[in-house]
Symmetry: C2
Subunit: 245 residues, 2 copies
């Protein structure tokens, strides 16, 4: 019953060839017309099968060049729970982070997220981290204008500046709320993260507030759904549990 359609059969065949190593990471698949004749199907059917693999993150389609086996996932682990910086495990290649700083005025979602009136001045840091040439994560950090450091974000000092500010926030914050959802990426996100528009992303929204309840930072993390996970660990201390019966 599951293999009723040819597209599923073809996708399953290619999938096992990939996962079992008969097709290596980085390799190019035969041309779609060739694969179509090989599987004795028409090109649309063959392409539908490839679309499934693309949505699973197994292959990457590049217009004019071919279909390529994606490199096996080096998993991205977001560790929640209010750590000063959400740490990622040591990657195989050096991490490269490009930051784009933008000043903007609150509108739409941002007003409710940051609990500020529409039009408030904000600073957005868009951080795209790459492992070698592979994009890993996309983060948008929003900070009220008056809390943002007044530094020219040069490549060398941005990490330190961000870390300083974040640790300062952490010391002041009394509450951190993290929300995890999933959705399909916007075309821009798909392009930046180098993923298929059909591959869902994991979004993590992290809001930190200070003692007065003011939001001092909001982070929107966009992670490719095929290689990302978020973990939240708590060590319950029975003494603090004054809960209901």
């Amino acid at each position: 019953m599951p293999a009723t359609s040819r597209r599923h059969a073809i996708a399953a065949d290619l999938r096992t060839q990939i996962t079992e190593g008969h097709l290596k990471a980085g390799d190019r698949l035969p041309a779609e017309t060739q694969l179509a004749t090989q599987y004795a199907v028409s090109t649309p059917t063959l392409r539908n099968a490839l679309a499934d693999l693309q949505a699973e993150g197994l292959i990457e389609k590049i217009h004019g060049k071919g279909n390529f086996i994606r490199h096996p996932c080096s998993r991205i682990v977001y560790v929640g729970g209010g750590h000063p910086l959400a740490e990622l495990p040591s990657p195989d290649a050096p991490l490269l982070v490009t930051v784009r700083t933008t000043q903007l005025h609150a509108q739409g979602d941002l007003t409710t997220l940051l609990k500020v009136p529409p039009g408030s001045s904000l600073v957005e840091y868009r951080c795209l981290s790459q492992e070698g040439s592979e994009p890993r994560t996309l983060a948008r950090i929003y900070v009220p204008q008056d809390l943002a450091p007044a530094h020219a974000s040069n490549d060398s000092g941005w990490t330190k500046a961000l870390a300083d500010r974040l640790s300062a926030c952490d010391h002041r914050s009394t509450g951190i709320e993290e929300t995890v959802t999933t959705r399909r990426p916007t075309p821009e996100e798909a392009a930046l993260l180098h993923i298929s528009p059909a591959l869902a992303v994991l979004t993590i929204t992290r809001v930190a507030s200070d003692k007065a309840g003011r939001v001092i930072e909001a982070v929107r993390l966009i992670l490719p759904g095929d290689r990302a996970e978020a973990t939240f660990t708590i060590h319950s201390t029975p003494n603090e549990e004054g809960s209901e019966g």
Copy 2:
């Protein structure tokens, strides 16, 4: 550039008609052949456009009947952080939960998840909760055989039994780890949750351990990605922060 393809244009047109209320929830769309002539495209192109809407959770395709506008999402909120039972906000319709109890032996993922040797006796509770006739969440709860309550899971008493066991676990547990990922649903999950196979699900894996480090419960939650979110809130207590300089 974004609206190059007809399928996107058609999908966008229908999307606005749905979100703006010109097409009401529960309504049936015109037949695909009719829509195809209406938009002056071939049936495959029209169907591709509908596939996009289906993957977004906006419409539901029912073979032999038609395409229907899905009811607007009543959001499912999973509250993490080790609460005895992850609570959901009050639904519009009464919640109906069906539980299927299965005894099985650990293998594959379950051995690493529960930290038990392969072949260990486990009890699986598959809980499908519905809001009226709409499926909401799918949970698989795994408990070591010797920790499972020896009750015949009848419909009336299951909730109490589960709650009792869970709260007991909570008092004993020293650690709860919750992991959130996203992926495409299995065909079974898509059928149970009544969602498109192309619509990603949010998966939450929750593992509770006792003081000795033994896993006393593992929960796999499957939530439809278009209407679910998981939140984790912490209130940092500065005294406990003995962190770096």
